[in-house]
């Protein structure tokens, strides 16, 4: 099948970006599409040849970017430059930093500009004026709660969502949420995050949970709902259960530290600071159960990681999580803000036979292979880009 090579800008503001966005960048370039990255360059990852970086990280590199692209645009694309400058001036945004940000994009004129974080929509909607298709990803907080607390943002979404060429939603749930702000359902593709599934033999062939190892992974943020998992730990401890609960990514979170001490959970709970992704994978695969106590998520990638590495999952039913986990089939699902339900699920797991555990783990892996493989994600994205380009 003949596929057209696309020029795609993947914009998250930072280079490198999150694990899943990086996976998308590499996956697309492996399919011979040209990828353009812009924004703050923290360090240069080892990308394939088709990935072009237009990042900057110092005053000097910003100045260099500005001078270079001002020159190129003035000489070769004078009309475009004039047009963009006029747009920026009309919005009182004709600032040096904005030009550093925008000129390289205008020079490259990708087919697609794919904005990863919806909050930046106001800053990038101008790309449409130059024939660049504007695609916005609908992810977590940017849709689920930020506009609730920020009326101005909600108004911006309502004004600009109808103008966006296409949306990528990380879950069906978030797609529905975005519709409240004027996103046209027909213009939303739900494409699940994907990861490489390594076929491995099951790690818990002879399981006996005399001291069950529970884990949660995520940054220190209220939406992660760790307090409910700790409340559940208290219930488990009061019932005399032996367990350890490790939260990776939250070392100095005073709210959690206080709760642990207040509930007398010091000997059961460990907090670990942010660590490298490979180490996170190691922690997940060594745990018996990954708990996702979140009150809000798009689809939590750590859950996918756990399912891929034979670690059982207890998740709340927040956001898109019910699209991944079916209760008692490939994991366990509990209502949000419900410590009793988390504790009950842990006890249920302890009581399961090895055969039942294996059935659930295999089902979890099947979900990942069929719904969350890297290939499925990349194909979904390419289809979305192509269909957006065809639409006039």
């Amino acid at each position: 099948m003949k596929t057209k090579t696309l020029k795609i800008a993947i914009y998250s503001g930072k280079i490198p970006s999150t694990t899943f966005i990086e996976r998308l960048i590499v996956g697309l370039s492996e399919q011979k599409h040209c990828i353009y990255l812009y924004g703050l360059l923290n360090f240069k990852p080892n990308y394939p040849n088709l990935v072009s970086i237009r990042g900057y990280n110092s005053k000097f590199s910003k100045l260099y970017t500005l001078v270079k692209y001002t020159f190129l645009l003035t000489v070769f694309k004078k009309g475009d430059k004039k047009k963009l400058d006029a747009i920026l001036k009309s919005q009182s945004r004709y600032k040096l930093y904005n030009r550093v940000k925008y000129y390289p994009v205008l020079w490259d004129k990708p087919d697609i500009f794919h904005l990863q974080w919806a909050k930046g929509i106001n800053e990038w909607i101008w790309v449409r004026e130059f024939g660049i298709k504007f695609i916005v990803s609908l992810r977590g907080a940017h849709i689920n709660y930020s506009p609730l607390a920020n009326n101005k943002l909600a108004e911006t979404y309502k004004l600009l969502f109808p103008k966006v060429d296409h949306f990528h939603a990380v879950s069906k749930a978030i797609a529905e949420e975005a519709e409240k702000y004027g996103a046209n359902a027909k213009k939303i593709d739900v494409i699940y995050s994907g990861l490489d599934v390594v076929s491995s033999t099951s790690k818990h062939s002879e399981t006996s949970y005399s001291n069950i190892k529970l884990i949660s992974v995520g940054r220190s943020h209220w939406k992660k709902g760790y307090q409910y998992a700790l409340d559940a730990c208290k219930l488990l401890k009061d019932e005399g259960l032996h367990f350890t609960y490790t939260i990776v990514g939250v070392l100095k979170d005073v709210e959690l530290l206080y709760q642990i001490e207040d509930l007398g959970l010091q000997s059961n709970v460990n907090l670990i600071g942010p660590i490298d992704y490979s180490e996170v994978e190691d922690y997940i695969s060594k745990a018996d159960v990954l708990i996702l106590p979140s009150v809000e998520e798009g689809i939590a990638n750590v859950v996918l990681e756990a399912m891929a590495s034979d670690t059982l999952v207890i998740t709340t039913d927040c956001g898109g999580m019910p699209e991944v986990i079916a209760d008692n089939q490939n994991g366990f699902i509990v209502p949000v803000r419900n410590p009793e339900a988390i504790a009950l699920a842990v006890k249920q797991i302890i009581k399961l036979s090895n055969t039942d555990l294996e059935i659930i783990k295999k089902a979890a892996k099947r979900t990942i292979v069929s719904q969350h493989s890297k290939q499925t994600m990349i194909n979904g994205m390419v289809d979305m880009y192509n269909s957006t380009l065809i639409k006039l």
Binding site: Y145, L148, A149, N150, K252, L257, Y258, V336, R337
Partner: protein
């Protein structure tokens, strides 16, 4: 013997900034001490122009410039001036710091940074929060002044969690401690082995004349009106409170809940209200002035204070003074703020089910029972938590 020429006892109070109008505790304390014949000097890290008319002497820490060159120059000048004008104090501080194993560089920095305090003559040096005394453990001794330290709640229960061992040097010093509750006193004794005699409990106080229920308003009895005055911070337990209220809604109880205050957790709480489907029943007013707070209290039936961590809580005292039925959590000082079943109700923290049951139970009480509780609470606050009493206790604190 007092240090000041007019034979008054001079108390230096160290705070991070000049207390704003809303920070009644320190304002009342300073005013009370002055009325009782003490000299008060306030040492602050920074001050705004609008603060400069404050009614006691205010000494502001010198501003260290951002540029390295000017910072070195300013620091050197402060250091030299200190050595010339008050060599004994500087030497004593240096030796005491050295005994605490401070490196010479740290020691010199310490002497420079604290010159603004050292230059005054004090009988007492009183640190307003635990954190303010860190790296200043020897200043009072170097000045031949007595050292006092107030713990206010978060600084005793939360700061050591974030900065492990931050008070280790303090615990070894001769300090007179002021805490807000007996619970905090117990924490100092049990966790940090502080001598009971060195700790004084002085609860916060309110202006009971200002917080007086002027008239019983005509309330719409169909809707249960509840209110909380609190910073939007996790320690106030507002998320658990909203979860309890969601349970009320599930039971078709009509209610309106007002949260007065601002803070970092606004996004968290507004999302919770939406997720729990009570956003139409919950109002976030933001920060309000005292008059408006009073209006809200006057129009409410029940005051909720379901905190996770709380030193004592002035807002709860004010609510009781305003004759509201008060339900609080069992967090630290709250158990002393309210006498359970007599002047209000205490519910174990982090338990929305129990909290919502208690709200229903209280709401269903007979009018006469409610009146008894309200009256008792109001009288107790008036008698035990008034400004005059607080003033006497502080005078006593510095006199012994």
């Amino acid at each position: 013997m007092t240090k000041a020429s007019n034979n008054k006892i001079t108390i230096g109070i160290v705070l991070s900034s000049i207390p704003k109008y809303s920070e009644t505790f320190f304002r009342n304390k300073i005013k009370g001490l002055q009325e009782s014949g003490f000299n008060v000097i306030l040492f602050v890290e920074y001050a705004n122009n609008s603060d400069l008319d404050y009614k006691c002497k205010v000494v502001v820490a010198p501003l260290v410039k951002k540029s390295r060159v000017s910072s070195i120059f300013t620091s050197s000048m402060i250091f030299i001036k200190g050595l010339v004008l008050r060599p004994k104090k500087c030497l004593k501080l240096f030796l005491l710091n050295k005994k605490d194993n401070l490196s010479t560089l740290q020691n010199v920095k310490n002497i420079i940074l604290n010159q603004f305090i050292l230059k005054e003559d004090l009988d007492w040096l009183h640190f307003g929060y635990g954190m303010l005394a860190i790296n200043r453990e020897n200043i009072a001794a170097a000045m031949n002044a007595k050292m006092a330290l107030s713990f206010r709640g978060a600084d005793l229960y939360l700061t050591p969690l974030k900065h492990s061992g931050c008070y280790d040097r303090l615990w070894k010093k001769a300090i007179k401690y002021h805490v807000l509750s007996e619970e905090m006193q117990q924490t100092l004794i049990e966790n940090y082995k502080i001598n009971d005699a060195e700790i004084k409990v002085i609860t916060p106080a309110i202006n009971t004349e200002q917080f007086r229920c002027e008239a019983s308003s005509n309330r719409d009895n169909k809707t249960l009106k509840m209110v909380t005055v609190a910073r939007l911070h996790w320690k106030k337990g507002l998320e658990y409170t909203l979860e309890a209220l969601a349970l009320l809604k599930q039971q078709d109880i009509k209610f309106h809940y007002t949260i007065i205050g601002e803070g970092d957790d606004y996004e968290r709480l507004i999302f919770a209200a939406h997720q729990l489907k009570i956003n139409d029943n919950v109002e976030f007013t933001g920060k309000l002035n005292q008059g408006k707070v009073k209006n809200h209290l006057q129009n409410a039936d029940i005051y909720l204070q379901y905190s996770i961590q709380e030193g004592f809580c002035n807002a709860l005292l004010e609510a009781q003074a305003m004759r509201l039925l008060c339900i609080a959590s069992d967090a630290e000082g709250l158990q002393e703020n309210i006498i359970n079943e007599q002047t209000g109700w205490i519910v174990p923290k982090r338990n929305p089910k129990q909290f919502s049951s208690k709200i229903i139970e209280v709401n269903n009480l007979s009018t006469s029972k409610k009146e008894i509780i309200k009256q008792k609470a109001m009288l107790r606050v008036k008698q035990n938590f008034n400004l005059e009493m607080q003033k006497k206790r502080f005078v006593n604190f510095y006199s012994h």
